[in-house]
């Protein structure tokens, strides 16, 4: 292994994927395997009065609430969701039963003959309805979470502010649209359930099933198969499918496979939380933002899922990269009768950064300030306090990064040139966003809940196997983990082995989420490799372990939301350039420039892949990915009308790294995966705003909405 860890190496998983030999869940067949298909609620909210099942042909089964242990609740963070609807349904598509058998056509035929009789209840479909309902879906107040974060003294600021500015911002749904749809196979044999499938978090599934089936730890095993993308969508949802498939396998005494159709996956699985955010800023006479009040409302859908932690991340990010000393942030996650909102790359941060970046730009415009100067005047620097009163301990390179982005994109020159070109009818615009992402779990999650453990196994042939529960899902975890270990041990990369995790073999190093695999698990691997190096000659075979240790000097109070919400921050600056058609108001993205501080890059090509992929997903979110709900159903619910970017929708992306290493990350690495998503939505919206000379406060930015604004004003 060479001495520059950033130099790219060949991905070991690539050739099997290219040649079609890699086995995804849809490709795996077991002997005697049956298929399961889901019977789903047709209504948004109601009671199930009766279900009439047709008589079943030999070898076909119905699996429903009567086939699972009481109380039929799956534990994600809260235990509010049934595995099969018990007696109520809370969204269109909520699973009621599985039809299981050998032939998919016969299964479809059976599904079409099942009659479910409902008693309709008025559904809650909007945030307003959810906040004011007398018939809550969840708890007494219909909120999955209701938090306040305070810093300084907002009331004191109100008295001395010279200027006040208020704005409201909205973001929509987004579907992960991983290319491989959800899929799980359950095999119940000799009293033990084995789950195979597409997933991010093998131990989340194992723990959810242990709780659900009240099983002993050695009776549930989870094995990840090649996973075709996750982006958060395979964080919690696979636990639900796994519980259903397991119940089916127990009943049918055969392996049972569930693979979703694309349209089923689009319409019914978890999505990014829509948001409505109000911000009110107080400024002094030098246009320093001295205080801000925020009200963040997230649409959580029908069940709690991960809404409370998504909300926390949104709240902690709401002051953006600005040093605002007095804050009052209110946050609520509202239950509605729609598909569950869950994890999606960024996890609440994209909603918050969209709001604050647009807000800052609008403040500058309102008071005739240069937006970039105004933002720079308010930037955080090392030693400043975060929204939760934690300390930014490391050097913050944002000013240099902005300078670099300005040079790369000719920002100032284009800003004035486009102004001239607009006078001649060419609607060109350019926008810049500044952002960060906190690495790893929020607060003390790593210390108190995850408690990650890794193992390295030295074998007799002097190869070293990595034993962790983090998965390769496309992001390159297999390669970066192997590089860290090979580099530390100073052995060839070929000597380091990474197999898809199997909970019977690997310890719980935590889920593959929150951009934590490199920064948190990678550091544990480095520590374990360091120890293995020292003990290398002790024995022919060796097992070395490392456990997570909370870095010294950091503090977090999870009840009061005080202290260091994150131990490391990665930063970014994005510039997007668009041209808007003067008749149709459709935008073409002309150029994208990006500068990131991700600490030490572990593999430059993998980093570039994350940057490009994250930016393009963000551009889709801000531009073309529209998902609206009408009367409980999504209007865009198939791959024909929920549109994601194609190769023709994006330009080349110019990106650079300008990095400040992190003491507690492997070789200085910080979080990367989610950061790359966060900046492009506001940069895109600001470029369209620049091109059209109007204020944009909602994404996705749609031509029909622009027309509306142009006709009727804001």
């Amino acid at each position: 292994m060479g001495r520059d860890i950033a130099l790219s190496i060949r991905r070991d998983d690539a050739i099997a994927k290219i040649s079609g030999e890699a086995k995804y869940t849809c490709d795996v067949k077991f002997e005697n395997m049956l298929y399961g298909k889901t019977l789903r609620s047709k209504i948004a909210r109601g009671k199930i009065k009766s279900i009439k099942y047709p008589s079943l042909p030999e070898g076909y089964y119905i699996v429903d609430k009567d086939d699972v242990p009481k109380p039929n609740k799956l534990k994600i963070l809260k235990s509010d969701m049934s595995v099969f609807a018990q007696d109520v349904v809370n969204y269109v598509g909520e699973p009621i039963a599985l039809v299981v058998g050998e032939d998919k056509e016969i299964i479809d035929n059976i599904l079409s003959k099942i009659e479910v009789e409902y008693e309709n209840i008025q559904p809650i479909l909007t945030l307003e309805e959810g906040l004011n309902t007398k018939e809550p879906i969840y708890g007494d107040n219909n909120l999955f979470a209701d938090y306040v974060v305070e810093k300084g003294d907002i009331n004191e600021v109100k008295n001395r502010a010279s200027y006040v500015y208020e704005g409201e911002y909205e973001t929509g749904y987004q579907e992960q649209f991983y290319l491989e749809t959800q899929g799980i196979i359950a095999d119940f044999k000799d009293g033990k359930i084995t789950i195979y499938g597409s997933m991010q978090c093998p131990y989340y599934i194992k723990n959810a099933l242990l709780d659900f089936f009240k099983a002993d730890s050695d009776k549930i095993r989870v094995v990840q198969l090649t996973t075709g993308g996750g982006f958060g969508g395979k964080e919690d949802y696979p636990s639900l499918i796994a519980a259903q498939a397991a119940a089916a396998s127990i009943k049918c005494k055969r392996p049972v496979k569930i693979v979703y159709d694309r349209d089923e996956d689009i319409e019914f699985t978890t999505k990014r939380h829509p948001s409505k955010i109000k911000l009110k800023s107080y400024l002094d006479d030098n246009f320093k933002v001295i205080g801000m009040e925020a009200d963040i409302i997230l649409d959580g859908g029908a069940y709690a899922s991960l809404s409370e932690v998504v909300l926390q991340r949104a709240m902690f990010a709401i002051s953006g990269v600005y040093n605002i000393e007095n804050l009052y942030v209110k946050g609520r996650a509202v239950a509605t009768n729609k598909a569950i909102s869950g994890a999606f790359r960024g996890f609440g941060a994209p909603q918050a950064f969209f709001a604050i970046e647009i807000h800052m730009e609008h403040i500058a415009k309102k008071f005739n300030l240069n937006p970039l100067d105004f933002k720079i005047n308010n930037l955080i620097k090392r030693g400043d306090k975060s929204s939760t009163g934690g300390t930014f301990r490391d050097e913050i390179k944002l000013k240099e990064m902005i300078k670099r982005a300005e040079i790369m994109s000719s920002y100032n020159e284009k800003k004035s040139r486009f102004k001239e070109e607009r006078k001649e009818g060419k609607l060109k615009g350019i926008g810049m966003s500044l952002f960060f992402h906190g690495g790893g779990f929020t607060g003390s999650g790593e210390r108190d809940h995850i408690k990650a453990k890794v193992k390295l196994l030295k074998k007799i042939d002097e190869t070293v196997e990595i034993l962790i529960s983090n998965v390769e899902m496309g992001q390159g975890a297999m390669t970066t983990s192997r590089k860290i270990v090979a580099y530390t041990l100073n052995i060839p990369i070929e000597k380091v082995i990474f197999e898809n995790p199997d909970t019977d073999r690997v310890p719980d190093s935590g889920p593959t989420v929150a951009s934590r695999t490199t920064v948190v698990v990678g550091e544990l691997l480095r520590e374990a490799a360091e120890e293995l190096k020292n003990r290398w000659n002790e024995n022919e075979t060796l097992i070395v372990e490392a456990d997570y240790k909370y870095p010294e000097g950091y503090e977090w109070d999870g009840d009061k939301f005080k202290g260091d919400a994150y131990t490391s921050y990665s930063f970014g600056v994005n510039v997007v350039e668009v041209e808007v058609d003067s008749i149709t108001y459709e935008s073409t993205i002309k150029n994208v420039y990006a500068v990131y501080d991700i600490g030490q890059a572990i593999d430059e090509r993998i980093v570039k892949g994350q940057i490009d992929g994250g930016i393009v997903q963000g551009l889709g979110y801000a531009g073309i990915e529209v998902m609206e709900n009408k009367e409980g159903r999504f209007l865009q619910r198939t791959s024909s009308d929920y549109i994601i970017p194609t190769s023709k929708d994006v330009p080349y992306i110019y990106s650079e790294l300008l990095c400040e290493p992190f003491k507690y990350g492997p070789y200085g690495a910080k979080a990367l995966g989610e950061l790359t998503f966060v900046g492009s939505p506001p940069a895109y919206a600001l470029s369209v705003e620049d091109a059209l000379g109007l204020e944009i406060s909602n994404i996705p930015v749609r031509p029909e909405n622009i027309l509306e604004v142009l006709r009727h004003g804001k």
Partner: protein, 158 residues
């Protein structure tokens, strides 16, 4: 109703007994155990099931088996044996064009179909040629780079 359908699959004459409207994708995956073509959407939107029929790129999820009668079907498993595949796969690896991999066999087939028609494509041509194949991981640019690389490395072969 089932028909006997004869076609050439990856260079070999084959025969299958199936419904004439069975999707070619299912014929490949179920009857011939060729799982390189993937079902990403089942609606011809994503291109993960791309194969070549008589040299032309098609979505096998929309293609009724009967229509393959007498034609030459090439899948990733057939292409794999060729020098062309070596060039494409090396280029995809070197350019970092593979992440989750679910779209990749389809992308390779689309790239091959493009380069057969147009051995010296411009960036614009490549974006057009791959526009029927969705990828959610890479943002496409590294795939486009891979195709440019392959075009150069395989000069004279296409």
């Amino acid at each position: 109703m089932e028909n006997k359908i004869k076609f050439i699959l990856n260079g070999e004459e084959v025969e299958v007994l199936c419904s004439p409207v069975k999707r070619l994708l299912d014929v490949l995956r179920d009857d011939f155990n060729l799982s390189g073509a993937k079902e990403g959407c089942g609606k011809g939107e994503c291109g993960a099931c791309s194969v070549l029929i008589d040299g032309k790129l098609i979505n096998s999820c929309l293609y009724p088996a009967q229509m393959a009668e007498g034609k030459e079907v090439l899948t990733i498993e057939g292409l794999k044996k060729s020098r062309i595949f070596e060039i494409l796969s090396e280029s995809f690896i070197d350019a970092g064009a593979v992440q989750c991999g679910f779209c990749t066999p389809g992308m390779i087939m689309a790239s091959y179909a493009l380069l057969r028609k147009n051995p010296n494509p411009t960036e614009e041509d490549i974006r057009e040629g791959l526009s029927g194949n969705l990828c959610r991981c890479t943002g496409y640019n590294m795939i486009i780079e891979a195709v440019k690389m392959a075009a150069k490395r395989g000069e004279g072969l296409w």
